[in-house]
């Protein structure tokens, strides 16, 4: 099957590579050494009327099936089509830009990439059309721009992962300072609002003391309910009236019946598996 497909591809290389409707296919290989190539499926980014997207229309190229070794070099590969403003790689297609806040490399280590999708924003719309016309095959790793893989990559990854304690300390300190400030502000705000009625006239009262009040948590309320239930059941009389007696007997019988049914089912199963042949 596979062999046949190779033949097809070899016979008419000039033929257009099959691609889904609206997409163009660009072959991409790791380096010249490889025979077969993956295909990037690209399309000008566009959304239906009324849907919001943070990506600039017309200037954004939507790329599917970006191979795992092509994370950093994508912008270089596409720069032949025009100046690239930004490249955003994601696991799944997502209309909104992911929160751009600087994710700390200490607390959110980079995940191992698989096949990804990319949003490539060109500086000019012409970049998109040029990219759509690319014939390829693109080469990820070339002599002038080698891309590390295998042992090379793992060793350099390991070296990168050796932490710098000073940088970490600085980052923690900055974060905690900001955090303390935020907490202080919140407290100050709460103090300010104390005793001041809101627009409907309600006054928020908070008790601040050594003895904490019952916290408003689900667990706490469940605990209260349970305590109540236990108190009630202590007062109840069991097997006092004749009907209670009758009922508890009946309950016992029902339990036995249920167990019996369960047992029968289990036996049936074991019999089906021939589990009763001793040897």
């Amino acid at each position: 099957m596979v062999a046949r497909r190779r033949k097809c591809a070899a016979r008419d290389p000039e033929d257009r590579i099959p691609s889904p409707l609206g997409y163009a296919a660009i072959p991409i290989k790791f380096s010249e050494k490889q025979q077969a190539s993956h295909y990037l499926y690209v399309r000008a980014h566009g959304v239906r009327q009324g849907t919001k997207s943070t990506w600039p229309q017309k200037r954004t190229l939507f790329v599917l099936n970006v191979p795992p070794y092509c994370t950093e070099s994508l912008s270089r590969l596409l720069s032949t089509c025009g100046l690239v403003q930004s490249v955003e790689l994601q696991e799944k297609p997502d209309l909104a830009e992911s929160p751009k806040e600087s994710r700390s490399k200490f607390f959110h280590p980079k995940p191992v990439p698989g096949f990804q999708v990319a949003y490539v924003v060109f500086q000019k719309p012409s970049g998109v059309s040029a990219a759509l016309a690319l014939k390829g095959p693109l080469l990820v790793s070339t002599e002038s721009h080698p891309v590390k893989s295998g042992i090379h990559k793992w060793i350099s990854d390991y070296a990168d992962s050796v932490p710098d304690p000073e940088a970490l300390r600085v980052e923690v300190d900055t974060f905690m300072e900001a955090y303390d400030q935020k907490i202080a502000e919140e407290e100050a705000k709460a103090k300010e609002e104390e005793g001041v009625p809101d627009e409907e006239g309600w006054v928020k009262v908070t008790r601040r003391g050594r003895r904490p009040v019952l916290p408003r948590t689900e667990a706490a309320s469940l605990r209260v309910l349970e305590r109540e239930r236990r108190k009630r059941s202590r007062k109840e009389l069991l097997n006092f009236y004749a009907w209670q007696h009758r009922e508890s007997k009946m309950e016992h019988l029902a339990q036995l019946r249920k167990k019996f049914e369960e047992d029968k089912q289990r036996i049936e199963l074991l019999r089906a598996q021939r589990k009763f042949r001793p040897y």
Binding site: M1, V2, A3, R5, P20, A25, K29, Q34, Q35, A36, Y39, Y41, N65, P67, P68, K92, P93, F106, V112, P113, G114, F115, V117, G150, I151, H152, W154, I155, Y158, A159, V162, P163, P165, R169, F175, M176, Y179, I183, P215, R216, T217, E218, L253, A254, L256, R257, K258, K259, F260, D263, Q265, R266, L269, L270, R271, Q273, F276, R277, P278, Y279
Partner: protein
């Protein structure tokens, strides 16, 4: 000796369930073949699944009928529970002979009877037997001649499909004739012909156990010692003669008593199953079904068993009797008469160790149970029966839910029941042993059967020598095969191998010393004589000078094998059996978990050293000054710290020239031009800090505070104790004495903070999230489990070996990554906490076999595996958990393990295995178990023990071969390479100023990348312990052409098929990606293209 009694005996012999065996075997094998020989990875999990019972209210609460009430009451009284009753009924249905078969057997019996009567020229009894035929085997020889005559005539009859000889209960003086019908019934029935003398032909008083009936002059051609000393008694010989005379009356007795009540018959059938599963009735001189039937008769006569009892109650009563009564001290008798002429029980006790007299008062039914010896009162078999009965009673009393299965359905073959096994071969050596041990009277008594004669003294010798190391010794002799009537009977030396099983006592195993008496005591000479040259005088610390034997054993694994030294030494010294004839099977599997350098240890010592180092570290942590919060707990959370790491770490010291150095962070880095450095895995230690109002109540902030603590810890440990440390945001790595620990700071309330969800009304509720569950698992449950298993190791020293061997095997089968480390540890722990029907294993070998048995037979679909650590779960709780399990089965993982700390969720199997992987493991275990057992039971030596550890590679679609240069754990491979690469370590451990390369394992990094990129197209299998090959299995479902979807284009390509555009995996490019991603590591990518179709 006319033909008339033959008919009677035939009826008796076939009325009992013994004849059912061939019929069962015939169909049983086919069933097994059909069910187990499947190598399909996928099986729908819903089939054969128990569903929670749903009964309508009306059904549950309808008025009971009288019948129903009666049945319920009966169940309660006669059986344990309704389940047990149903199970017993099913089992009896399986073993009971059907009416149709019974008729066919009866018809055949009538035919046989007619033929036997018609055999021409049968002389009358009086003509054959003469006075004094009881002497000097004359009776037995005439009996054999008579049988040969019968055989000669019957063999010409077309009625019989086969006519051959065999020995009655293995007694070589008493052949019997086996007749099988021709045609389709050949496997249904076997008729044994026992010729018997007329009932009153021999005078019983001449056959008392104290009498001699084999004269020395006749037997040895000389008179005993020549000085007129009395002839030695021949109790066994006498018994054999007596057995023939009372055979008929025994059968009549059995049929009158047992046919009186169905419960008794059922009970006997159950007891026979019980014996058979334990192999107690096997081979020569077994505890036969006949014996146990007579025991039932005895208990009926003493009113311990009632005719109204159910089969289950009969079983229970007999087991109770066996467990509590010692027939070696107080024999029992069926004989009711108080005739003073009858011999006394004491006479029998002198001749036999186990005494159970028949109704005549002359015959000891248990004579064969005693290993032939009249001066050493010892019966291994009796000890074994008692041991088994006690275990079974404990099982019944524990009210375990699956007691029935453990009691009656679980086979206990010797290799799986005993810690060590030894084979004596060839048996002809025992002849010399008999002479060496001066066993002439025994030989005379046994008619020259030197194996039986030597068995008793030899086992006594071993028992005495093994002393405190031994719990139980058992022997097994293969049954003498049948032989054709035209052939010579098998000789004693042909009867295969004598196999002994040793059940070891773990407490006794640790000592290397046999302490003898003080040198000036009179017993010292005896001690010296017993141990021979191994005994030497030693001065002890208390000043005493004693005889002592010291065995060389440095490591735990060598200590476990001291019994081997003891056995070979004693056998050579006292019985002239050279070492080459003793094939001891105790440690062949040890090789698989042996460390790299020290081949004499299976790693227990290295683990202890690592744990000791951890203890030191935790003391340092406790005593650390200058931490803003105090340490509230330090807990281990790594397999090393629960003794289950397959290859324990050794202290390391790096050779700097081998590495790149990163001076400013005082770390070493791997170098491109060198082979991959040694793999060092840090051992995780969780360090809990006290709760305080100072902790922030925000998840992100808690993370930062923890990071600050990690930094501080590193600083303080370096300052105060000079340890090499490296802190990251989540952990601090510490290098101590060549071991690397990874300290994780934990804050007790953090999981709760991660769980908090605020509802719109401001109510805070707790909801499990992935992050909170992971954190809880890593910082709370894992340390608990680690300490519980650490405790288990202290109780059962073999636990470490078993767990590691089990993990080694699973990983060698390339399935290791499907199972969490902890889940396999728990399965191994279950073997120790719930060993029934065995005792907890004391050697890795037997534990590993039971692991394979458990894995291959456990019904994971319908049962949770209970691992009742510290016995915390009560019976009621277990019942409750079980019903909860059934109700929630669909949501639970395929493999559910319940521990007291984890009653509902089965934390350790949440992420795997998948149903397919588990199924594959079950199939592999089912194949490995019989293969390995056969190897170990092979008296010529186990051969290549690694066979069952080599994975099948033909099932994979693609094989990726890796270069050993970059496999850091290459030497741990199942077939350990003769030479591997230098890994940058110095042989002498010492301090290092630079942090080692930690957790750098190229194959693992490669696998992570592969799984991330191609995880939805293929499965990847690899043995982390030095595997050289990665097996790839395409997922069949992802190879179905799919319509284009923007979200699932990963690694696929569009192609037109029949005018339609579909997506298929881009296999060629993917295969090249395999090589690209693993550049330098991958040697070849072997695609077996014929195995997939797109």
């Amino acid at each position: 000796m006319g033909p008339a009694p033959a008919g009677e005996q035939l009826r008796g012999a076939t009325g009992e369930p013994e004849v059912m065996e061939p019929a069962l075997e015939g169909t049983g094998k086919e069933g097994k073949k059909a069910s187990s020989r499947k190598r399909t990875l996928a099986e729908p999990p819903a089939k054969g699944l128990l569903q929670p019972v749903k009964l309508s209210r009306a059904e549950l609460y309808k008025e009971p009928t009288n019948e129903e009430l009666n049945r319920l009451r009966e169940t309660e009284i006669l059986f344990h529970s309704s389940l047990l009753r149903l199970q017993v009924e099913e089992l009896l249905k399986e073993v009971r002979l059907s009416e149709k078969k019974k008729d066919r057997i009866d018809a055949f019996l009538r035919e046989v009877n007619q033929r036997v009567v018609r055999v021409p020229s049968v002389p009358e009894t009086e003509e054959i037997l003469q006075d004094k035929d009881g002497l000097n085997q004359r009776y037995f020889r005439k009996r054999a001649l008579y049988l040969a005559h019968l055989a000669h005539h019957l063999a010409q009859d077309p009625l019989f499909g086969s006519v051959c000889f065999s020995y009655t209960n293995g007694c070589h003086l008493k052949p019997s004739l086996l007749l099988r019908p021709r045609g389709k019934d050949e496997r249904l029935v076997t008729v044994r012909l026992h010729p018997c003398p007329p009932p009153d032909f021999f005078r019983p008083c001449r056959l008392l156990p104290t009498k001699n009936n084999v004269r020395s002059a006749w037997y040895r051609g000389q008179s005993p010692a020549g000085d007129g000393s009395p002839e030695p008694p021949t109790p066994r010989y006498n018994t054999w003669v007596l057995q023939d005379t009372v055979l008929e009356s025994h059968l009549q007795l059995l049929s009158t008593i047992l046919s009186s009540a169905q419960g008794l018959k059922d009970g006997v059938a159950l007891l026979k199953v019980w014996l058979r599963q334990r192999e107690l009735d096997k081979g020569q001189g077994g505890f036969t079904g006949f014996l146990v039937s007579m025991l039932v008769v005895f208990l009926v006569s003493t009113r311990k068993i009632h005719t109204t009892m159910s089969g289950y109650q009969v079983l229970r009563s007999v087991l109770q009797f066996l467990a509590t009564t010692d027939l070696t001290v107080n024999g029992i008798s069926l004989c009711l008469s108080s005739d003073p002429s009858l011999p006394a029980l004491a006479d029998f006790h002198q001749a036999f160790s186990v005494v159970f007299l028949d109704s005549s008062g002359h015959l000891n039914l248990c004579a064969d149970v005693t290993a032939s010896t009249y001066h050493q009162g010892w019966s291994l078999l009796w000890l074994q029966v008692q041991h088994e009965a006690r275990l079974s009673m404990m099982l019944l009393d524990s009210r375990a839910d699956d007691g029935f299965h453990l009691l009656l359905m679980t086979p206990k073959p010797m290799i799986r029941a005993f810690d060590h096994v030894l084979h004596l071969r060839p048996l002809s050596r025992l002849q010399a042993a008999c002479h060496r041990l001066k066993l002439w009277p025994e030989l005379q008594d046994n008619g020259g059967d030197y194996v039986s004669a030597a068995l008793g003294p030899l086992t006594t010798l071993l028992e005495q020598g093994l002393g405190a190391r031994l719990n139980l010794l058992a022997h097994s002799r293969p049954p003498v095969p049948e032989w054709d009537i035209s052939q010579d009977p098998p000789k004693h030396k042909d009867s295969g191998t004598l196999t002994l099983g040793l059940l070891l006592r773990p407490e006794g195993l640790t000592s290397v010393l046999e302490l003898g008496p003080e040198a000036d005591q009179p017993e010292a000479a005896k001690f010296r004589q017993f141990w021979g040259s191994r005994s030497e005088l030693r001065r002890f610390q208390d000043g005493a000078i004693r005889e002592a034997v010291v065995w060389e054993a440095a490591s735990m694994s060598q200590k476990r094998l001291i019994p081997h030294q003891v056995v070979t030494h004693l056998l050579a010294l006292h019985a002239d059996i050279p070492e080459t004839c003793v094939h001891y099977v105790g440690g062949p599997l040890d090789a698989l978990i042996q460390g790299l350098k020290e081949t004499s240890s299976t790693g227990e010592e290295a683990l202890v050293a690592a744990v000791r180092c951890y203890d030191d570290l935790s003391r340092l942590l406790w005593g650390l000054e200058g931490l803003p919060l105090t340490v509230s707990a330090v807990q281990g959370a790594h397999p090393v710290l629960r003794y289950t790491e397959v290859f324990p770490p050794t202290p390391v010291r790096p050779a700097f020239s081998f590495y790149e150095t990163l001076r400013e962070r005082s770390s070493l880095l791997p170098r491109l031009d060198k082979p991959c450095p040694a793999y060092v895995e840090p051992m995780t230690v969780v360090c809990h800090l006290e709760g305080s109002g100072q902790w922030p109540q925000d998840a992100e902030a808690v993370q930062r505070v923890r990071a600050a603590f990690q930094l501080r810890l590193a600083e303080l440990l370096t300052q105060q104790h000079g340890l090499q440390c490296r802190a990251t945001a989540t952990h601090t790595d510490v290098l101590k004495d060549g071991f690397v620990f990874r300290i994780r700071v934990a804050y007790q309330r953090e999981p709760q903070i991660l769980k908090e969800v605020q509802s719109p009304e401001g109510m805070i509720s707790l909801r499990d999230t992935a992050a909170s569950l992971r954190l809880e698992r890593d910082t709370r449950q894992l340390p608990l489990l680690t300490s519980a298993l650490h405790g288990l190791q202290q109780q059962h020293p073999a636990f470490s070996g078993v767990a590691r061997l089990a993990k080694r095997w699973v990983r060698a089968q390339l399935l290791g990554e499907g199972f969490a480390d902890e889940s396999l540890d728990l399965v191994a722990a279950a073997l120790f906490l719930h060993p029934e029907p065995f005792t907890p294993p004391s050697s890795p070998q037997v534990g590993f076999l039971r692991f394979l048995f458990l894995v291959s037979t456990f019904d994971w679909k319908n049962n949770p595996l209970f691992v009742n650590l510290n016995n915390e779960l009560t019976v009621e709780e277990q019942v409750e958990i079980r019903s909860g399990f059934l109700a929630a089965r669909a949501q639970l993982p395929v493999m559910v393990i319940v521990t007291p700390q984890d009653r509902k969720n089965s934390v350790w199997t949440q992420d795997g295995p998948s149903a397919q992987i588990l199924q594959q493991l079950v199939v592999l275990a089912a194949e490995a178990l019989p293969m390995l057992e056969k190897q170990l039971m092979d008296p010529r030596g186990p051969g290549d023990i690694r066979t069952v550890f080599r994975p099948p590679l033909d099932i994979y679609d693609v094989l990726i071969r890796l270069s050993p240069r970059h496999i850091p754990r290459h030497r741990q491979a199942v077939d350990s390479p003769a030479a591997s690469f230098c890994r940058g370590l110095l042989s002498q451990p010492g301090p290092s100023s630079l942090m080692l390369v930690l957790g750098y394992d190229p194959p693992q990094l490669y696998l992570t990348q592969l799984r991330e990129a191609f995880g939805d197209l293929a499965l990847f299998f690899y043995d982390q312990h030095g595997g050289e090959v990665i097996g790839v299995l395409w997922k069949p479902t992802s190879f179905q052409p799919q319509p284009f979807k923007a979200s699932s284009t990963k690694g696929r390509m569009v192609m037109s098929r029949g005018g339609e555009l579909v997506m298929v995996p881009n296999v060629e490019a993917i295969l090249e990606d395999f090589a690209v991603l693993g550049e330098g590591l991958v040697q070849t990518v072997e695609a077996r293209s014929e195995r997939w179709t797109v």
